[in-house]
Symmetry: D2
Subunit: 477 residues, 4 copies
């Protein structure tokens, strides 16, 4: 069908104002202020909210049951029409709410107007946005949990693989690869917590706040709230329609997820380089070059890292938009949706693709074994060996420093230096020094909770595997 | 005393590295990387963390009880020295941790070195920062609660004062001034919730994660955690030393507080203007002009609004700094402190001054009574009156629109238009129309929960007054 | 036609890589990395750049003239197809460059491949982006100049209208409305300068830098540069393909334009409020409320103010994206286009609508005359009057302050206070005090260059009207 | 001396207002709004501006020559006192302007008050800020030029050193190290241009705009402008005191410099890693670890990268602060100084330290020679070799792809593969294939202007060495 029923609707709307206005809205102004190409994403929430509102109005006898039934039926049909791609997103419709409203009038006539009893665009939009954030937060939590499951799988499979651990991008001490994956598991788990906390505040109903001062009709806000699965209502009507702090909190949580992903992406980019060679991305998730036949590029990781800026930008857009706005609803607030939608979609897409990327990445174990076996990062073990033999730490550090210089100068790895050479640095050295000069020894000797030792890593894994995931029931409507 | 013991300490430190390094650090590099002028704010937390660490080391018999006692006593003295302004913040000291460490060595000699057993700068800094954030979050929560108490007081005192309510900065409907204050109470209450949620994640101990891989000594992380009042430990050592998501979350919560304050400030600036004249700031919280004798400027509100950008900037600084950092600690992370300290201090200062400003602001009731009595925002009442008389809403809106035009043209306020004139617009008008044409009638007729009606406002007030405030016990140490 | 020729093209492309890759790109990865839905905006520049490249290749005898002609003809046809909406933006096409390339191959066969001689996607994209920025900067400059013309017209028409001038949103001194418009004229004139300066750096050609190291073929970069109207080439091939500082500079200039518009918008919102009543927006550029019949909302101004955040966010997106990227092209850079396009479009749209809004706004002169005639901001005149009569400034200020208090207490405007009352404050007062107590006198007495005096305002106007606008010639191609 | 002369001054000031104000300013409010701890940095500019103003006032006979001389002498003495550390930055002084003013009064008595003839705090602050930006922009330009000289030196010394060139952090094609340095030279040269362009707008005088409406005294704005070395005046008094777009432009230019530095820093961090090993930082500009004796950390580069966020944050602070401010000066604008000073200082410090770091970094030529000799990035040469032998490019790419796979499988570098093996991939291979399989051959074969060929690199170097640097004359005052 997809016909353009905007023209008529537009003039109807002008009729409604015309008593006060002497000329119709300029087309350029209407186009500038139209948001239907953005907020169509709310169509499901808008219909859901309207049905709950109509249901309550009938229950409270503000409208008749028959009218409520007609409204509900009409809205259900419109939902199907939209999902079948039959409605045209004509910008003359101003926004998705007007589009649905006008279509409903086409379908059921004047009774459609009763839907607007005791409801304003202001509380309607706020309700839709919160329902959308709730659904999308659930999706992001699910995507984070899926990523975490991948990390658990990866960690389980890499409890014996040792990689150089870095600080300052300089090799510091050997660590278990599993330990590394578990670090990201912790970060993404906090991200889940943050969305769950945000949901507590998001999941409160503004419906019934009307324009901003409340309604003179005895609407039952608790009832619409509960029909829509809200856990509470917002208790002040001015606040309900005009604050956007939960939108900021949502996007802020997205920004932290992206920050975490950007760090993970950086590691993947480094680790798949010729210089590191720790990982190899599956061909299905890398790209080549039409010029340089040898290239295999980690584009997915680069794009995720690049898109981080986008979500940061969305956060700034929201914070700036809200800065210094005076009391109650201002039209500026319509600009909350582009950054919200963009941040949520970008975060979801990045989580999904990065999860796949991690899954489709192979560890180059042989190479890792080779480099960790001979690395200078075993120097700490050497110093601790001397300490155990009674050398004061400061001296042990100094002696080991000299051995490091010797190793660099002679290009001889620490385990390859002969015992007699070791003994020129300190008489404390004995044959057993070579026992500590392996990355396995280094890792195994760790004792503190949460460390990179195999025991600690196994304990961390157990902890995550037994953690319960909350799955809040949401109304099917 | 305030002597500069930097030089000696500096050279000592160089000794510790010199085995590997052939020349001392360039002065300009040392100065560039020094942070003592910033992180001295952590001195209390640093000492607190060190005492807990020493206590645990002794309990676990990693060091002797006597040594632990010496260390603790020395640190307590240093705390007093610092608080007495006796320690010089020489940039050669690099950071507050080095400054305290070097001073401890001066006081108790080599035994001071034992404090560094199984601890690295990385987990030490992370611990200090979290303790500082916890203390400061507590302070911000207290400041928010104080502001909320002021708002409760103000709301209680203004349950009968009617102000124009605005959308789009156009007068929309009359509201109770109390209802307005309660809107901010809701916002700041959510801010409290956000800090409380952030505290759950902040209040986890990184201590014992050492450089990033854990320690080979059997440190008891649960014990130091509990000595320091942490509610849990961070379970992965890499994550513990190298993530900063809680810092971002903290500053993000500050940014939302500032956003709320900037809106409140905007209202104060508008409402104290000659044009609005709703409020008058006490002379003690306003400034004048040495040129223009009539001026009385709301500088405190303007500054609060202006400082909002600062905290937004701090948030961006942190997000940018963390973007794309590879595994584990990188020195970039030292740059978390300037934005954290600035955001926290700015938010606290702004909360305090704005609380005072609200307290020292008088409502100009007579003026408000005058303008609300005759305002066009009563037009909605007129339309609803007609609806009650059986006129369809659309017609009622059109008729009212015409009356509005009439009122504007004849510069006659709605309550001043004669009944006969009203009846030219619609025969439904009767003498009782004048009963609804008062702001009190408008406010009183509201029925929905959370609305601006006196009953609803009273209910909101009761709800806030009976809410319990959580006061988490913190270790006195 | 709009057929989907993606499948075939896709497999062709995979053929080109397959020697090194053992499996095709995952669909999800391709979709994630595809940008054709964004960068289709570059189609004109892409075709323009390709024609210039082919022309040069033929001139340098790297390809035959016949081949260049075929390529050019094919590209011209594709341009028409795109403009006729005949090409499908299938995401499988990856980007607009691939889409055009694949379509060209369909049309002219293998000879299309010669277009890629000595050119890489990297220099191609950089060229397209610069051409797009150049064209769009020209458009923004034109929009700024149009806005400035409106301001000149408005200023000319308001050289005798006096408005209260504000500092701290408190009335300070009377000013000519023309002077106010001229202030924005200055701001937008600097914005023009900034875009002109940015254009000097934007308008340099990267074409011929190839992947990043240059080409082994003797391409003539000066020639393609001049064909495309570039004023210079970029002199280093690594820099040419991998820097984005001009994109940041462009968006930064947009952000400042938006900042200026947000301030102007704030004034419009304030000045159209019931409280200020300085301006009235034409009905065609305002909106009403379907609930509150009296409402007339300045939505266009609010939306412009709200969209400011969006452009700030775009700037942060770009800065974050580029932070810490290593040498030469990284795929992250693909993310430069969404914020660039969004910032440019938003700025252009806002300039256009705001220009219209200013044009369609009426000054409420009578109201302004009334309030400025009796305003306390004449107090400065009073003080200066006393100074001229020999009273030291400090005393004059003190006396005037007391008169201000008197005026407030007795609710009597300064010009209405009787001479005898004035003389109770100072014997210096004489009948001529009433001559200075008019806003006209205040304005007329200004002497400094750039002040609000009628002479100064006229001089400012002359200056702007005689300023030459640069109109750089661009290649028609 | 350093005595606290605040108390008296404060009460004086209160006297000046007291006619209108019934109580003195609250201490907490005064402290909150005080900025002397920030804006003391402007003391030199403040004195410079005041002397110019006094000089002009005397020339125009608005004050006597004797008074101007007294004022000038007093100000010169205060400048010396401040530079000798004799003035106490007491917050009760509000700001540096008040501090200097009060001190001047102490020194020369009431004549000091004449300095304020026809000048307001608003134009005074705007003048000081612009003078400070001008001086600091000059310093930043000098630092950029110094960095560029270092890059020229480095490039000259590395015209024969070949490094792997990267795209996507994957080795792409060999390049000359000089070519790499020259890329940064281009970036920093554009940064210089940007500051020079900003200076055109910064270097215009607001002095004489008074509070915002101009002065009623015949001040000569051109004269003060020229005394202070401004190249023009700002032509509208409202704009002059209340816009901050040049501050934003300045900080925006800083942000781009930092972006460039962050990329350079990333390369240094990568290139000094064990994995890359291209560079070695001098011990004087690196740090070690007290735990891990082998560590040598590139802290200076990490800090520079980390501080990038700070300057981005400063930019957002300014943009946010200015968003939506109404006409003319608002106190919010006082908040322009912390981000301006921070951004400028951070950028300067980072430029200086990074310049030193580049100077103190050694290239590991042997290692580079080894890895570039055998790298797969020579594959492009192989493909081009086949093309020259008549193989179509597509086939050549496919064949080379297979050779790359062979090389990876047999762990044999391209130059080590035997001719007979090559011939199994294509009969076109001949003994001369080994001539192209060297990084030198790859680099030498480049032909396009701006490429990495030795000729192009030499030409780039010549271009930079002969470029003239502008050195604008500034008034000595």
């Amino acid at each position: 069908m997809k016909k353009n029923f905007a023209a008529k609707a537009g003039s109807e709307k002008e009729l409604l104002w015309q008593s006060r206005f002497s000329e119709p809205m300029d087309e350029r102004a209407l186009k500038f202020s139209s948001s239907v190409h953005i907020d169509w994403r709310l169509y499901k929430e808008d219909i859901m909210g309207s049905i709950a509102h109509a249901t309550m109005l009938a229950e409270e006898k503000i409208i008749s049951k028959a009218d409520a039934a007609k409204i509900t039926k009409g809205l259900r049909e419109i939902e199907k029409e939209i999902e079948a791609g039959k409605l045209d997103l004509d910008w003359r419709q101003e926004d998705i709410h007007t589009l649905i409203e006008n279509r409903l009038k086409e379908k059921i006539g004047d009774v459609s107007g009763k839907l607007h009893t005791a409801r304003s665009r202001n509380d309607q939009v706020a309700t839709d946005t919160r329902l959308w954030m709730r659904r999308t937060a659930d999706e992001i939590i699910a995507a984070l949990n899926a990523m975490n499951q991948t990390l658990i799988d990866k960690a389980e499979a890499s409890q014996k693989i040792i990689v150089p651990g870095y600080t300052h991008l300089q090799r510091a001490q050997p660590i278990l690869l599993a330990h590394y994956y578990l670090a990201y598991l912790e970060m993404f788990s906090r991200d889940v917590e943050r969305f769950e906390d945000a949901l507590k505040r998001i999941n409160r109903s503004p419906l019934g706040a009307a324009a901003f001062a409340g309604s003179s009709l005895p609407v039952n806000r608790r009832r619409t709230g509960s029909l829509l699965g809200f856990s509470d209502i917002l208790h002040n009507s001015i606040d309900a329609v005009s604050d956007r702090d939960t939108v900021i909190e949502f996007v802020s949580a997205c920004a932290v997820v992206m920050m975490h992903l950007s760090r993970f992406a950086e590691d993947v980019i480094l680790w798949t380089s010729e210089e590191f060679k720790f990982l190899e991305i599956s061909d299905a998730f890398a790209t080549g070059s039409s010029i340089m036949p040898q290239k295999k590029n980690p584009d997915m990781a680069e794009l995720v890292r690049g898109k981080t800026g986008r979500v940061y930008g969305d956060l700034i857009a929201l914070l700036t938009m809200m800065k210094g706005l005076p009391m109650s609803y201002n039209r500026d607030m319509q600009e909350d949706k582009p950054p919200l939608f963009d941040a949520a979609t970008t975060t979801l897409d990045c989580l999904h693709i990065f999860d796949l990327l991690v899954q489709h990445t192979r560890v180059r174990e042989e190479h890792l074994a080779r480099i960790t076996a001979n690395d200078l990062s075993l120097a700490t073990e050497l110093a601790e060996y001397l300490v155990r033999k009674g050398v004061p730490f400061r001296d042990a550090h100094r002696i080991t420093g000299k051995i490091v210089s010797f190793s660099l100068q002679h290009q001889t790895a620490l385990p390859q230096i002969s015992l007699s050479d070791y003994q020129t640095f300190s008489p404390q050295f004995d044959q057993d020094v070579f026992d500590v000069l392996t990355p396995e020894a280094s890792v195994n000797r760790k004792r503190s909770e949460g460390s990179t030792s195999p025991q600690s890593v196994a304990a961390q894994l157990r902890r995550h595997k037994t953690k319960k995931k909350s799955t809040p029931p949401r109304p099917l409507y």
